[in-house]
Amino acid sequence: MNSCSDKKEILNENILFDSDYFRKSQINIEQPSLLGEASYFRFDHEDSRLMIWNMVADEIILLSYPELKPIIELKINTLFGSLPIADVYWQNGMLYLVSPSNQVVIYKPESGEMREIELDSALAEIDFRAFRISYFPIYVEDNTLFLCGNADG
């Protein structure tokens, strides 16, 4: 006879559960200035901000949470010129942007402070190119930036 833990393991390997059981609530987000489907949503767990990045509108909006009121709206091309963006990441009051040419921009909207880090020549030595798309999100942890890349950059 199987123990309870054995049974649980067997269930996990052979049974699918209906998602309805796990659904608990709904969130409505109004984003009138954004277009089409090309919006990516990321939640910053450190300061509870929801970031919306729209690639078509070239726009980043930060919403308070759970109020979902816009706090900051940034036009990427106004701030950073024609820098193509591979991914954006908001954490703890700082915006991190990475371009496919391995350029990293760290921007603090509160003070306007901006720092650019040019990684291309160093990373070229190991044939590394940051992704053009955000399947591997940038991640910042203990002052370390984690970047994924390659394929076609």
Binding site: N12, E13, N14, I15, L16, F17, D18, S19, D20, Y21, F22, R23, K24, S25, Q26, I27, N28, I29, E30, Q31, P32, L34, L35, G36, E37, S39, Y40, F41, R42, F43, H45, L50, V56, Y65, P66, V104, I106, L119, L123, I126, D127, F128, F131, I133, Y135, F136, P137, Y139, V140, E141, N143, T144, L145, F146, L147, C148, G149, N150, A151, D152
Partner: protein, 258 residues
């Protein structure tokens, strides 16, 4: 489409680097699975995924029934490998047809045909990992498929990479590409609101204990009469009504002419 030598070149290099912002130094912390250099799959539009949880990088490759974990204190060693296999994983891999490398529609739909693992999501509030699995489906004869027309599952793992459960999401209800994790749970974009100004997300607590209903999925994709291609492009790209032709350059983007 890149050549075999390009494929070798790209996937021999680092998959992830860690850049120390204070010191200005970086190190390579992981590599691609060797199958990226040897197999004929459309990796360029069928990407791998990485996410972070508890100072670990977790990697998911679309065609591989494993999760890979690189721990902080082992950044120079090989990642640990954990088994993963969806209950709905049944299809054999369909290799790319080389003769159709220039066929944009074929490459676009290729991932629908194959079983594959898509998004990899981490939940720092519950210390859980969610791996989205998308079962391969037959392409409709005349209509195009969209991501939200295909059913998917979410495999729920704890931070020790032990499977907790697999949860089924019906075709046509959610678009798994758009989500975020809030203190309340995993917020999934409802398929009905991917256009327009009001976006609706359903919130799921996948750590919820109890006795959820078991399910035997019957329909893995929806067959819906889609609008004509012109209307589809106009809506999905947000084109002005005056645009009467669209030029699409595969892999680069598109422009429209009025």
């Amino acid at each position: 489409m890149n050549s075999k030598s390009d494929q070798n070149f790209f996937f021999s290099a680092s998959l992830e680097i860690a850049y120390d912002i204070s010191k200005g130094t970086f190190q390579s912390i992981s590599q691609y699975s060797s199958s990226y250099r040897s197999e004929e799959l459309n990796f360029y539009s069928w990407p791998a995924r990485r996410n972070r949880l508890l100072e670990k990088s977790i990697y998911s490759f679309p065609h591989i029934d494993s999760l890979y974990v690189q721990e902080k204190n082992n950044s120079n060693g090989n990642p640990k490998v954990f088994p993963r296999k969806s209950i709905l994983r049944k299809r054999h891999k369909v290799p790319l047809v080389k003769a159709r490398f220039d066929d944009y529609s074929y490459l676009r739909d290729y991932h629908f045909i194959n079983d594959h693992y898509a998004e990899l999501i981490t939940d720092p509030y519950r210390e859980l990992i969610y791996s989205v699995f998308v079962p391969g489906v037959d392409l409709p004869a005349e209509n195009r498929l969209r991501t939200e027309f295909v059913a998917f599952t979410i495999m729920v793992y704890n931070s020790d990479l032990e499977l907790q459960r697999e949860v089924f999401f019906h075709a046509g209800v959610y678009d798994y590409r758009f989500y975020f994790v809030s203190p309340e749970g995993l917020c999934l974009h409802t398929a009905a609101t991917t256009q327009g100004s009001m976006r609706v997300f359903d919130v799921f607590d996948l750590s919820k204990e109890g006795d959820p209903a078991e399910i035997v999925p019957e329909k893995l994709s929806l067959q819906i009469d889609l609008p004509p291609l012109a209307s589809y492009l106009r809506d999905s790209l947000g084109l002005d009504i005056s645009a009467d032709s669209v030029v699409i350059i595969s892999g680069i983007g598109c422009s429209w002419l009025s």
